[in-house]
Symmetry: C2
Subunit: 192 residues, 2 copies
DNA sequence: GTCTATATGACGATAGAC
DNA sequence: GTCTATCGTCATATAGAC
């Protein structure tokens, strides 16, 4: 069969799974829910993925890699920690508005509950990249001398919390409306 | 039967459930796991709780109420936003060390996945109390004029993120070791 | 590759004896 | 109140025809 069609079907499965996982959660979604939503049969689905868990893992890894690519691009585009981290937060806010499901899945999924033995989100590629940027910012003197983990949470903890608020429907306005004030406040916490 | 014994059994169920829910998650824990861990039979367990969901709800509500009490006590003890919020973060850090399971359950559980229709954590009693304190702090002029939600996440987003790091085993040292620096950084973000 | 039909097993919850 | 035994349901995954 044409590879093109195969890919379309794979993506249909992943898309439907993403929708259902964020809507009702991994454990409240059955394989048959995904299968019918993606317009194919159970047998076919199991031809594309070994099992339900594999769908979740592929999904998570895709989103994670995509974010990592974006972070690398931001790193190339800007040359200092302020501009870089500012762009990251803006990117996260925008993505949450444009592609809410992805962000919700990335941030809200207790991935270790789905995949028995799984590393913490905090040692994932995107996280490490952000950490690297912050460490460089400390070396250059733009960010105060402080415990690196504390610097990380001070800079990104607020914005990330803001994303949770938005996903939970607490904020009336879209995230970008709060961006300038939120970023400014976060930066005040770490600037030299 | 003596009320005392009834209460002991009820607590045994809740304690075992808390342990298992945090260890492997709600959906990976069966009623029979809880029952055997709490040293009683299935039938007896169902005499104490209507169903599995009720256990999770009671647990969540207990922890939430307990935290709310503590926040109220802190509010009575201090008379300004700086001292109050400082005490809150310290309390959260201490509790995470002393009673990791409770905090993990409170912070990490996707409660809406367990209980179909459930309000967001962000409109829970403890959250609203914290919000009230921050709003008063803005009125008194200790905290800068800014969107209240942004003030909330700037002040507590970092510390809460720190708790996640600790629960996930990323931090080598216990949380109190990071407290002063973490609180100082958070406050810098909102102070007038 | 894709489908339908089904095996297998687990789990939540109840019945009914004591 | 407490137990053991069991029922009904449903979800994952596979078998086997096309």
């Amino acid at each position: 069969m044409r590879d093109e069609k195969k890919q379309r079907r794979q993506e249909a499965i992943l898309l439907e799974a993403l929708k259902l996982f964020t809507e009702r959660g991994y454990f409240n979604t059955s394989v048959s829910d995904i299968q019918s939503g993606a317009n194919l049969s159970v047998g076919t689905l199991y031809n594309y993925f070994k099992n339900k868990e594999a769908i979740a893992v592929t999904l998570f890894s895709n989103i994670e890699n995509c974010l990592y690519e974006n972070l690398c691009e931001i790193e190339r585009k800007y040359d200092n920690v302020y501009d870089r981290c500012r762009a990251i937060v803006l990117h996260l806010f925008d993505t949450t508005e444009r592609n809410s499901d992805s962000m919700q899945y990335l941030f809200y999924t207790k991935h270790r509950e789905v995949v028995p033995v799984e590393k913490s989100v905090f040692v994932s590629l995107p996280f490490l990249k952000m950490r690297e940027m912050v460490l460089n910012g400390q070396k250059s003197g733009d960010i105060r001398k402080m415990e690196p983990h504390v610097a990380m949470v001070t800079l990104f903890g607020g914005p990330v919390r803001m994303i949770y608020l938005r996903i939970d429907g607490v904020l009336e306005k879209p995230l970008p409306a709060y961006f300038e004030e939120c970023w400014d406040s976060a930066w005040r916490g770490v600037r030299a």
